[in-house]
């Protein structure tokens, strides 16, 4: 096969494939859209999703055969339902604000990073850095997750049906993590707010992560989240919080407050 050495092309925003257009291949019926992503580039798939959600106003979109491509379903800023039938690669569904997304397969690194609001449900396993810098919304992984899940988490809820890898909750600032299985070494290392609930065993705690006291509000939240997502709730959880030994500040400057909030 003749290899075409066409150099990568970028538009003024740094995007590859500057000439890509939405393929307009979705079949729409009863307000629902479905298209087959086989043979489409990452950008074409994302443009088709955006075309349907933004231009057509369709709020129920199914993408078949995503073929574990990276960066699918990112930056969707409206309320809609998106279902990926298959697995996704790295950085799936990041930077969203509003969608409710279901992924029937597995995902690679950094799924749902930086999401502002919405729901992402992964039916199988997820890689490392799942929910990195999560700002809000619910992220549900039915299987296991890799290392550094919820690193720098600033809000929202991460619910893990299986086990979590090492350094889960590293530098967590706010929000909730619920781990139904076991947690690896360095749980909650350098966290300075938020809460991590673990039903199984913890290999080791990270710096300044200590066991906390379960409250009625905690139990209500756990019941509610498990009820919504139909997962079987383990009978008991141990709560982990920040020990506040690393809290070396009294008053935050205005710009620092922005970062924390």
């Amino acid at each position: 096969m003749e290899q075409v050495n066409r150099p990568a092309r970028y538009d003024v925003r740094g995007l590859a494939e500057p000439d890509a257009d939405a393929p307009r291949i979705a079949e729409v019926a009863d307000g629902r859209a479905r298209f087959d992503a086989e043979g489409l580039s990452t950008r074409q798939i994302n443009l088709e999703i955006r075309r349907l959600a933004y231009e057509e106003g369709i709020d129920d979109i199914t993408v078949a055969n995503p073929a574990a491509k990276h960066s699918l379903g990112v930056g969707i800023l409206t309320r809609c339902r998106i279902r990926f039938e298959g697995s996704l690669g790295y950085f799936a569904c990041g930077l969203i604000d509003g969608p409710e997304i279901e992924i029937t397969g597995r995902v690679g690194w950094s799924c749902a990073e930086n999401i502002m609001a919405g729901v992402v449900v992964i039916r199988k396993n997820a890689g490392s850095l799942t929910g990195a810098a999560l700002r809000g919304g619910d992220l549900v992984v039915h299987g296991d997750v890799g290392a550094r899940t919820g690193i720098d988490q600033k809000g929202g809820t991460i619910l893990i049906g299986g086990n979590a890898g090492s350094s889960t909750g590293f530098m967590m600032q706010r929000g909730r993590q619920i781990i139904c299985g076991d947690a690896g070494h360095g749980l909650g290392d350098s966290m300075y707010d938020g809460a991590i609930y673990v039903a199984g065993t913890v290999a080791s705690l990270g710096v300044d992560c200590v066991e906390g006291e379960m409250s009625e509000d905690d139990e209500e939240m756990l019941d509610r989240k498990f009820g919504i997502y139909g997962l079987e709730r383990p009978s008991s959880f141990t709560k982990f919080v920040c020990g506040k030994k690393l809290w070396n500040y009294d008053n935050l400057e205005a710009n620092e407050r922005k970062l924390v909030l």
Partner: protein, 154 residues
């Protein structure tokens, strides 16, 4: 709506940015009918779960992350319902399109997106005609950008 005056003090206050306050900051009845669950994705409060009543300049306030600024609440908040009203005021603020950060979308949004994001359906699409700002006397380095032809491939 009351008009204010911008100051030069360093702050993260919505009034500093917009120069005014909005009626729902003063009148509780204007936010009473806000349905928080309907206004958020999923079956509970979703991202609003992390929104709480805070205080800025000694006044009850809610933090608007879309502007990076506090929105002050001047009406009396019933005891025990602080977070509820903070969330209702914030959602009203976003749905009405008054968040200063959202105003900036008209000029600075680089990609097509609903102006009012996920808070109100059917809002207009902004960011469809973004062009890079031009600085007088500055030219883009060669080989970095395309000008619609192949000369700048990298």
């Amino acid at each position: 709506m009351s008009e204010g005056h911008l100051t030069t003090r360093v702050g993260i206050d919505t009034e500093e940015l917009t120069g005014k306050t909005f009626p729902y900051q003063h009148d509780r009845s204007l936010v009473d009918d806000v349905d928080l669950v309907a206004a958020t994705p999923g079956h509970d409060l979703n991202w609003l779960e992390d929104i709480h009543l805070l205080e800025e300049d000694g006044i009850p306030s809610v933090f608007d992350r879309y502007t990076n600024a506090f929105l002050k609440i001047y009406f009396d908040i019933p005891h025990g319902r602080e977070d509820e009203y903070a969330r209702k005021v914030l959602i009203k603020h976003l749905q009405e399109g008054n968040s200063y950060g959202i105003w900036l979308k008209h000029k600075h949004a680089k990609f097509p997106q609903p102006e009012l994001g996920p808070w109100r359906g059917g809002s207009s699409i902004v960011g469809t005609d973004w062009t890079p700002p031009e600085m007088e006397g500055w030219t883009a380095p060669t080989g970095r950008y395309l000008d619609g032809d192949e000369k700048g491939t990298s």
